[in-house]
Symmetry: D2
Subunit: 361 residues, 4 copies
């Protein structure tokens, strides 16, 4: 042993950590039994937020480059998966705080005014680092963003707004992805043709279906037309640009096409890691929105329809933000643009060969 011996409690700074629960109820009146839980669970959340930021920053750094190394992708997937494991605990921890009854909360609630979970800087950092820019937030949320934070915290976050988000780095990485084109093969031309063929066949089936009521037939054809238009917005760069302007999509068209390509050929060696990465983005988004939803219910359960300690409008607001604050929605919507396997174009040998390993065993 070349280093001084280490003692468990010292290494973990337990003296400090375990003495950082200062009850307001004790300071101003009678100790409220449940305030200890209230403090400890929030501290546990903040510890995990720190860990998520630690992982996120490391992954961010590996992507903040003109070329993401294939070996790094293994590391990135490992760490994104760790984030998801932590998120599951964040969700499940809500069951602990739900053992606090409304009456027990009222024993100390008034002492906490106007503190609010909105003031968790680390949670804000996670959201923003992932991709939730201030401009995407709900109006009321933006207002809190500006007014309820310490000046230094505000400045910190505003500065961070100037940096690219992880979503934007992923977008850039996807956009750089090559493949799909040789002199005599253009994947997206083929794909568009396949989509047309598929939709034409669907249309024919509907039109020739004599068991359908005319009104139903009309409706089904209308839906088919909508699907067709949907695909057109993907294939036509100008239409896509318009959607982006309107804020209906956030991902660039190049990135979206690359992501679809990866999904279609995800078992090719070179796409296995990127495929897992896309799955991780879905997992992270799903876990955060599950957390938001359950958090809103928990607040509803403990506060009813009262206003939160920070003056926030409570569970109604929380429920609305659950859907609004999703970061990787574009990746969920990818499924819309996938087509059944028999319709997927076969890649020319030349391209297929490029997707494999050097070594052939």
């Amino acid at each position: 042993m070349k280093h001084p011996p280490v003692y468990y409690g010292d290494y973990l700074a337990l003296d400090t950590i375990l003495n950082s629960q200062k009850l307001k109820s004790k300071e101003y009146g009678e100790e409220a039994h449940d305030e200890t839980l209230f403090i400890i669970i929030h501290q546990a959340y903040e510890l995990w937020f720190k860990q998520i930021i630690h992982e996120l920053n490391s992954v961010y750094a590996l992507f903040n480059t003109k070329r993401v190394k294939p070996t790094d992708l293994g590391v990135v997937n490992h760490r994104l998966n760790r984030i998801t494991q932590i998120q599951k605990i964040l969700v499940d921890q809500l069951s602990i705080i739900e053992t606090m009854t409304p009456l027990d909360f009222m024993d100390f609630r008034d002492y906490l005014v106007p503190a609010s979970g909105f003031q968790s800087i680390q949670f804000r950092i996670v959201e923003l680092r992932l991709g939730l820019r201030q401009e995407y937030r709900l109006g009321i949320d933006k207002k809190f963003f500006n007014s309820r934070l310490k000046k230094s915290d505000q400045v910190f976050l505003e500065k961070m707004e100037e940096e690219p988000t992880f979503l934007e780095l992923v977008d850039a990485w996807l956009s750089r992805m090559p493949f799909g084109k040789t002199e005599d093969f253009d994947f997206w031309t083929e794909y568009e043709a396949s989509v047309s063929k598929m939709l034409d066949s669907d249309q024919e089936i509907i039109e020739s279906n004599e068991t359908l009521h005319p009104k139903e037939k009309e409706m089904e054809l209308k839906m088919l037309e909508a699907t067709r238009e949907n695909f057109n917005c993907l294939f036509d760069a100008k239409k896509y640009a318009k959607l982006k302007e309107q804020g209906l999509v956030r991902l660039s068209r190049e990135a979206k096409l690359a992501a679809i390509f990866i999904q279609l050929y995800k078992n090719e060696p070179i796409f296995q890691a990127p495929g897992l990465l896309l799955d991780s983005l879905l997992d992270i988004d799903e876990q955060f929105s599950t957390w938001r939803y359950r958090h809103a219910i928990m607040v509803h359960r403990i506060l009813g329809t009262k206003i939160g300690t920070g003056g926030s409008s409570g569970h109604e607001y929380l429920k609305r933000s659950t859907e609004n604050n999703r970061v990787f929605l574009d990746f969920f919507n990818l499924a819309t643009f996938l087509i059944p396997k028999p319709y997927i174009p076969t890649l020319p040998e030349k391209i297929k060969a490029e997707l494999g390993f050097i070594h052939e065993d």
Copy 2:
């Protein structure tokens, strides 16, 4: 052993159960690997729905009476808790189906048209038995309710609409609860006075707070007024009746008052079991709405923004129904009407004595 010997597989009818996965993909084309999962997970759901209905019916029967026996309350709480344990599995099982990719689903999806999860009669029975009458459903949902089911299933459900729901039985049980009144003490008069005192004190604090900007002060006073009105709707039978007419509350005023009373004195022996029962209703509601929310996300993940096999408008609809279809919302809102312990009226000895056991150890 007085009975013929039992063999595991025979007892569980495994020959039947394990041969009930008939793949449409195999019938009409190439076997789709994931169709087995698709069938099995739905069958697992349906088995659990059967179990929930079994528990729910037994609990329902114990409440479908003019007088719920105190010994039965123990049984009821035990079984409601079992329902919640099952619901947790229903939620977590979604992680299994989420391992099915959009492309793998497309291998057999078209064969299933127009079948849809809406056609799960057992799920409908659970919803309706609990309290989700057809009139409370979203418009589109009602339409499916009427058109997508087999005639016999429709008839069955419509007949069930004629019976009281569990929510209504709970309402009746709560409404019968006595207590709170002696010749010289009326609990609700006292409670109303306490609420007034509390709100008056809050108002004074706001008005005398010189650090508040006049606009903020105005807003806070407005919110206080809203809270006061909220309480008035509880205390004033006519106002409450109006809310009920408008569909803003479903619970009767008597039941609501009893539920509040139980929450305020939930550690009194006679209220411990009813208190746990109210908690169970919250748990059941929370688990179902979590299931609905995560189910909507899962659908989004696998289908994107496509239309479901049954023609349903997919994840958007599912998300809307998540909040709409909550059955025990009134019990969540109870928290709104609780007040801090120092304000809660002390019960006269005469009433308090009545809440205990015969035996004193």
Copy 3:
């Protein structure tokens, strides 16, 4: 607002909490990415241990009396249930640390010598408070107990050994339970008769079963004899005393009988809360032993068959302690002494009446 305004981060001491991760790898060499996780997860565990101790102490205080109040039982059950909710998180959190690979752990492992999880004083407090006295520990465990702790920590724990454990308080509470006897009815005499009748009937069935091979018959009769002897040890105070001397049971005979009585009549109003309490003891024991088991596997996964940083013999030891350190084993074994409902003696009206509420609605 009568108190100075509260800011989220200050209230939670985040400045302190989030700056208490001092990496040894950074101090002595290159920062190891996963050391942050290693520290944070241990800190999260310690925060939750503090919370468990907070709940446990409050419950302990309510039981450290000659008469546990019926209203307090509601509080106790609520808090024991909260402990179980926390324990579930303790178990599930292991999935997070399992994302650390053996190689990543080796990046900083040597710096931590000879620190060890054995040195978690809070975990020791939880174990001891519940009922795991030093004398019950495995030999190797006792040795660590004495040698690897700071002097002050040792002294603290040794002093705590002088206080009764929660198990002992529960034993005393159960032992005080009356019931079961009137002038002309003695429950345990009746119960013993019922058991005899049941076993005699079983014996007759075996003896008259002509399909059994003589050797099988002999074995079944032997097992029946063992069961009979088992019951005798319960009914015969002297035999029971001997088991206790030998350390085969820890609960007093009076407590055990009372616990059986409660289980038999658990839906009687006066037994509903005690019944839930007994269930909670099973839950707590089960959660801790699940944690120990999964913890042993996690250690195996990350360390293989290496020795732990504190010199402990690693996962093999951990697995052995999983079963040894169970505190409420006597309550698991209760099931052995229950008999089918038709055999359970009917209580005389006089006793039955005593188990109810004063109020009859």
Copy 4:
């Protein structure tokens, strides 16, 4: 729509599935409320076992070849991960059956004699397919294996014993892995030298540590010697063969070396998928042993120390089999043979280049 319309309930064979709960209690006496739960949870388990077998067989088929295709590895990892997701539900479902009390079980338990969970053929198939050959089972377990099954089931399983297990296919796949050798570089020679250097350095540190008591020093040196011998058994083919003969390892030496190599360089493109596969084997083993452990506790809780319906010696046996029946233990023990990164040999460029993709972006 080219196919006849599908109805949800027909597709899922709900008429059959939901009418396959035949209660013995109802047949022979009074309906026992909890027998429905008992049947349904076992049926749910069996449905999931069928799904696990479906995935396992597909993975098995892809490995039952002289050359596993790189694209297939993506599929295999996906499906092994699905198995783990299902296993988590198998574990969590135990919480549902734990809501059945010992008394409630006794309402129908006697009717089930001598059926037993040991008779679950599907569970046997999963165990055996993975790698748990009959010879590895505990004695008592083998006996049940032979005597408690229907003749046809016995024959089926005995025939399956003749096929290779998945563990053996994985062994063969790993054993075929090339790499590690060029004309002028032999990885395992280098690795052995690194291990020596590391252990020599450790030895020096211990010997020169003047703070150690002579007895402690002696013990530490003894442990070091044990570690050295441990590594020797890996490096020396003869010694390894002996361990294998004694049944202390099951994996071939070639496979073990390849698995270590993969772990050391798991971020190299060609090893990312194999690395994930090895992780999955750990996950599967961990989930099954967690299930076995929790299952044993559940049995203890409901039966106490009674004998199971099939005459099995109950929870004691179950606990012993928890550790004995682990299939992928060799992969857990891999961690023993990993060394800190600074000691890991640097691969020559020539080898490193072979581990990447054809395409360089």
